[in-house]
């Protein structure tokens, strides 16, 4: 399997990604840096990841790990195979994560790996609200 040799242009975390059927344009809704919750562990619903970069043609193993920043413990991950047909064109990946458990307040990150090699990471903060204020997040 050839190396992916990615040149990353964007790696973002947001609420939702809407992909237009006809044009394949992506709309990133609610790009955020902080998640607020009254109680932990919390289950975050409706989180999405967007990666755009130049990747070598071919089949590449990918893995995305979710972990607390600075920790080697991977809380959860997803892995699979990415097929790139034309290296000269950008590759866009939209990852929809319906549920994500965040165990406690702190800084978390998603780490993307291609062909077992580290590519990029993107982080966000999980912060605790006073109990009466409910659950929300902002940017």
């Amino acid at each position: 399997m050839p190396g992916a040799r990615p040149v990353t242009q964007a790696f973002l975390v947001c609420d939702r990604i809407i992909t237009e059927e006809t044009t394949h344009k992506n709309t990133l809704v609610g790009v955020f840096t902080t998640v607020w919750a009254s109680d932990f562990p919390m289950v975050h619903t409706g989180l999405a990841l967007y990666y755009r970069g130049m990747v070598e043609a071919g089949e590449h193993k990918f893995r995305i790990d979710f972990a607390k920043r600075g920790s080697e413990e991977v809380l959860t991950n997803v892995e699979g195979t990415l097929t790139v047909r034309k290296a000269e064109l950008p590759t866009e990946l939209s990852v929809q994560l319906p549920l994500l458990t965040i165990p406690r307040p702190g800084e978390y990150e998603f780490r993307i790996w291609l062909d077992e090699a580290y590519v990029q990471r993107v982080g966000f903060y999980a912060e605790q609200l006073k109990p009466s204020r409910g659950e929300a997040h902002d940017s």
């Binding site: 040799r5 990353t8 992909t19 080697e72 790139v84 990946l93 062909d115």
Partner: protein
């Protein structure tokens, strides 16, 4: 969870390749302590980690760099021996990110002074150019 990503290409708008994968249930994945690269947690000896990209979209790695992670006091060190460069940080990936940034800075700095370098720095630049190319 393992998924296969299928790229979708548009005939009308061929500027970008796109792929969408949907993760239906991340909670199915067991929690497994793991080091970067999937190796067991241990710093008793330097641990290799492959790095395939640089934090500068003007540069591309010719091939993944094999860096070595080690601990020194409260810091993690990521060393790229072929460049005689290292990065450091409070955790392994922070050290790797520091190393990636250092490689970019070194490449541009030495390339800008290419005609005026001494032999050691000229050798470092030559080693860099074998692994890093402008994109």
């Amino acid at each position: 969870m393992t998924v296969r990503v299928h790229q979708r290409q548009s005939v009308d708008i061929p500027r970008a390749q796109r792929a969408v994968w949907r993760v239906l249930q991340l909670e199915d994945v067991p929690r497994v302590p793991r080091q970067p690269g999937g190796r067991p947690l241990s710093f008793s000896s330097p641990m290799p980690i492959l790095v395939s990209s640089l934090p500068d979209d003007r540069l591309r790695l010719v091939a993944p760099i094999q860096a070595e992670l080690s601990e020194e006091g409260p810091f993690c060190i990521a060393a790229a021996r072929q460049f005689h460069e290292f990065g450091y940080g409070p955790d392994p990936l922070s050290a790797v990110d520091d190393l990636r940034a250092t490689i970019c800075e070194l490449f541009w700095s030495l390339s800008g002074d290419e005609g005026r370098l001494g032999s050691d720095l000229a050798n470092t630049l030559a080693a860099l150019k074998e692994m890093v190319e402008p994109y």
